[in-house]
Homo-oligomer: 187 residues x 4
DNA sequence: TATGAATGAGTTTTCATTCAT
DNA sequence: GATGAATGAAAACTCATTCAT
């Protein structure tokens, strides 16, 4: 792994463990096992590192969200795939997920970065699925962004409770969550 | 307003404007218009201020959540009241809401504080409403905390999209959200 | 003496002893006997300190240059007074003099600062003396700034040789220098 | 041009543009278009580079000072030749001239280096010219080093004013300066 | 020789905290 | 209680130097 990736990984770990406000360069250096000057070969300040970590996490999530997505499957199947992918991403990569969730709406991240498209344009896939469902009379008529935010929010919120061990997330719970989010937007 | 409240209000403002990680004592002093030593008459360090702000915000929200709550109204009415109260709290007090939402799951806040009960015990009210609905066969059987988190998460997520102006929140949208969250947990 | 003046005095000493390029903040702190943060209550960076020191030295020199200047004395007497004042300033305050001389034509100092007028406007006094002498046919016709620079430069150069102990500067030498500079600009 | 010369030229440029105190190795590397390690094949540290640049500049100036010098010409002609050569050197090579002038009296340069003789021993030529003039009763009796410094200083000072565009230096001005410096040391 | 990524000692800067008023 | 100048430990950042290629 390159020094740059070491630095980014260490930063993500630290944000997860202690929160952004207590991440210092010296903690990053130690965790990443690099010299203190090395970081400046790759980033010019802390904000740049955080932004780079954010971008990478968003790319990673965007890729994961469309795993196994079959555009020819039924609306419901496609919906379930997307929601399940989001949920499993959160389960597999809690650090990435929490970081994205926390900083997407923080003043620390610029609007441009918040609204960035990932390579795979997963946002567009979801939005057009919503619009398609609305045209077919299956999904309730409402602002598609609102609808997107709604089903996205269910997953996020559930994951946060899971992370602090309010409840387990096994097969039963997962099915309940997928159904709940599907029902929430039906006509 | 007392100096103490000036300091807490300034802190909340700064967290909202710049994020916790860039809140410094000197910014607080300037915004609160107090001398730099004054703060130590009330708080012994920054964490104490943030915790105090958090507690106050939680109290405020807890109070607001039960506004107009009629324990004898129908299950659906009570549910809508609670959800609407959460939503309006977020609309009226975005700084408090966002702060609570962000830091409730951050390593910065201690688990005891996260799990604090507000004066009015609004959490208990919601949880017992869920259990009651499940006993009546109206609300789907699932972990009550999971269910709580689910409906809570819908409101949070919707508010965050609203804050960054993804969509407006007027009467129509609000009704849609309340219905969506209700449907999501029905059997 | 105030902390600010302590800092400025220490800076001037260090520039004289080691040259600007080897003046560090920590040397300044130690020499000025102040805490490392104190400096930032008065200056926001090193360039600001150096500029402040420069301004003060210029004011000091400007004041000294006109000491005992009698506007009603003869042209020659006035000329000698100004030249002697410059020379004695250099002898009494070598640190100030060398600093001004070195940095007046260095890229480190901004043109505005280089061209600053001191309180007493000594530059104007000298320039008008030159013009007056030219009108009277005593001083040779030439660009007044060139003429100013010429007599100024004689003193500067002599002082630099004196500082490195090429020769002493006692009464004899001083009279020779004053005469030399006077003769150099006669018709 | 060799790498070594690239490095020295870049160093001189940077000193002229930004002043010695802000010359860093990385600026030198970039300007000289060499790799950062390359410098250590030629110099062991920054002071060595600066000293080498100084020596070279002094050699260059020493050579230039005696251009067209005719030992059999009249005292006045020889004096004018030396002064004019110094002036034209400053006009043609402002970077070298300023660097020599600034650092000859700076604590950065060692006394040995300051007192170095150039190949052509121009200093000796000037000093003996002064002594010769004094023996002939043309030049005033005074310390020969003082006298040297005096006429040298006129040229230096005039050039510095010229560099900051206080006045032009064309044929008229140049003649005035040569005459002024000659008159300044006559009996 | 030439290179430039990596380094860490040293420098600059920030900022929570103290304390005399 | 209220203040803010002074502080110094810690954080951010720079930059000369090394070394494997």
């Amino acid at each position: 792994m390159s020094k740059k990736q070491d630095i980014m990984a260490a930063t993500l770990d630290l944000i997860h463990e202690e929160g952004l406000q207590s991440v210092t360069f010296s903690k990053i250096f130690k965790k990443a096992n690099v010299g203190s000057g090395t970081i400046y070969n790759y980033f010019s300040n802390k904000e740049e590192i955080v932004n780079a970590v954010y971008k990478e996490a968003r790319m990673h999530m965007g890729e994961h969200l469309l795993q196994g997505y079959d555009p020819f499957a039924s609306l419901y199947e496609r919906f379930k795939c997307l929601q399940l992918n989001r949920l499993t991403f959160g389960i597999l990569y809690p650090k990435e997920f929490l970081f994205i969730d926390n900083f997407s709406f923080s003043p620390y991240i610029s609007p441009e970065l918040r609204n960035m498209d990932d390579l795979h344009n997963s946002r567009e896939v979801i939005l057009s699925l919503i619009v398609e469902g609305q045209k077919q009379g299956i999904i309730k008529e409402m602002d598609s962004h609102l609808c997107h935010q709604l089903i996205h929010g269910i997953i996020s919120s559930i994951l946060k409770g899971y992370y602090v061990e309010k409840y387990p997330l096994n097969e039963t719970q997962i099915q309940q969550i997928l159904e709940a989010s599907w029902k929430s937007i039906l006509v």
